[in-house]
Amino acid sequence: MALIHLKDICVSYDGKSDILKKLNLNIEKGQFVSLLGPSGCGKTTTLRVIAGFIDTRAGEFIFNGSDYTRLAVHKRNFGLVFQSYALFPHLTVFDNVAFGLRMRKTSKEEIKESVEGILEVVDLSAYSKRYPKELSGGQRQRVALARALVIQPDLLLLDEPLSNLDAKLRLKMRVEIKKIQQKMGITTLFVTHDQEECFSVSDMVAVMNKGVVEQYDSPEKIYSRPKTEFVARFIGFENFFSLKKQENGIFLTDSGISIHIDEEETYSDREEVFTGTIRPENIELLPSDSNQTDNVIQGSIEVRTFVGKDYQYSVDTEVGAMIVNSSKERMYHQGDKVKLHLPSNKVLILKSKED
């Protein structure tokens, strides 16, 4: 059984609208799991439910086989790293880190040993007598991490811990965090709105939207095979069009063009109309006299923008506006008639909302 088992969790702050709507999530021991989503999607709320700061309206939270739903925060033994770090301003780095151990009535010698050990891990041994205000952002971040880790928590909870750091440090710290997590083998839940940050370190990613988990998969899987339109949009798919199922592997666009799709997976047999999607860089942009005929949509260039690596075109097509990234080798101009080739192995069928 999974280490963490969230079942049908409902949370509402005002008693009317639900922040979390029957949220389900399972996390295996030792995994690094991220909650990813736009602000207001409920990811921090989920973390705070697990930490114990928020009471659920319904549902249960099972941790390692026991019911934690109503367990007091201080009995949970979870390490928390806050977005603001939340270091104790009146205590030195050493005392900050030692706080959790003192609450556990650990002996003085053991505290000294553990704290010094963990400060070495986060590379802060020289700073143990400093106060938080005498540290840089990155150092504070590491103190917060050390403080959460020194209690040997059953679970490490990270609430956007990198968002207050500058870009360079953020990159370095996420590698640090991942390293420490691997070394200690600690199950970790990481909340972030930064897609790249989350994909780079996670074993599993839960993409959240409006209080539910839309997709829970490995980062690779989410990147290559989003299941819902929301997830697809969130990770950079920009073209969406409706497709009507004709027979297995063959779909019709609204304008009646048949599109072949390699992937067998369609989500429901009842369903006839689906949403298809494709990444801008996966569309092949061809001149109108090209002899490619399969999976081709006609259109004309509306806008061309330069995005560094290549050109991005907004193309007006028979199935609506499509965004296409195309190499610099051949440049098209506004009004040019073009063909959009949608490779059959790149078009994805999304789950409809009702499922």
């Binding site: 930490a51 201080h74 979870f78 390490g79 603001s84 104790f88 959790g100 609450m103 959460a148």
Partner: protein, 260 residues
């Protein structure tokens, strides 16, 4: 330019009206004669000596001190949890609770004093000292709640959550983490409440009685029958004391705590 001159004049006038009486009191305190006259006739410290020898002034000074210290401590014990609840929790009717706690500042002191008198002394038959103490606790609570409340509002709530997540109970988290970080607010609140209780006249007027009186009240009754510079001397002592307290606060915490 013309506007500016008028403004300067107004400011000067305000200062004259504010400080003038105090300066005159200060000067009369050093009279060597028996009458509170200005400009002072002669120079002596005899009225200061007289104040310290006066049994009435010394007893009531003691009572004022006791009441101020006790009332402030009790108000802190009530006010800190109240300020915490007002700052941290969200519940229905929070505004009403807040307004009730602050209301002793809004209600005129005389009205408050009369209410205390009717309720504590006549109805409940409490002793004079106890009534005085209860009255002062109620009078100073708003200051405690305001000052400590602003300290709490400026404190990052997540440090308390961090403490709890590290295994501290809520109570331990409060004493080990929250309280040490609002010490300056607590000290400021103490000073402010102390001064307010010590200087209070309107409510004390109703609550003092035979044998139990506060210094401001005994000063008032003294002035009714005597017109010697002893009162001036005492006023100078009190002013000096207040200035000293304010100076200590300013040096240690900054007066900004009162204006937040």
């Amino acid at each position: 330019m013309k506007n500016n001159k008028i403004l300067v004049l107004v400011v000067i006038l305000v200062y004259v009206f504010l400080c003038g009486p105090l300066l005159i009191i200060g000067a009369t305190a050093f009279n060597s004669g028996n009458i509170m006259s200005f400009p002072p006739k002669g120079f002596s410290f005899r009225w200061f000596a007289m104040v310290f020898q006066s049994e009435t002034f010394m007893t009531t000074l003691g009572i004022s001190f006791q009441v101020a210290v006790l009332a402030t401590l009790i108000a802190l014990i009530i006010g800190i949890p109240a300020a915490y609840a007002l700052s941290r929790k969200n519940y229905r009717g929070k505004n009403i609770v807040q307004n009730i706690f602050i209301s002793p500042i809004i209600v005129p002191g005389v009205v408050l004093g009369f209410a205390f008198f009717r309720f504590l002394i006549i109805k409940l038959q409490f002793g004079v000292f106890l009534s005085l103490l209860i009255g002062h606790v109620i009078i100073v609570i708003p200051y405690i709640i305001r000052v400590i409340g602003s300290s709490l509002d400026n404190l990052d709530f997540s440090i308390e959550e961090a403490a709890v997540s590290l295994g501290a109970t809520k109570l331990r988290a409060f004493f080990l983490i929250v309280l040490p970080n609002i010490t300056s607010g607590v000290i400021a609140a103490f000073m402010l409440a102390f001064i307010n209780s010590f200087n209070n006249v309107p409510a004390s007027l109703f609550l003092t009685g035979p044998g139990v009186s506060t210094l401001p009240i005994s000063m008032m009754s003294y002035v009714e029958y005597n017109y010697d510079p002893a009162i001036s001397a005492l006023s100078v002592i009190l002013m000096a004391m207040t200035v000293l307290i304010m100076f200590i606060i300013e040096k240690t915490l900054g007066l900004s705590h009162f204006t937040k």
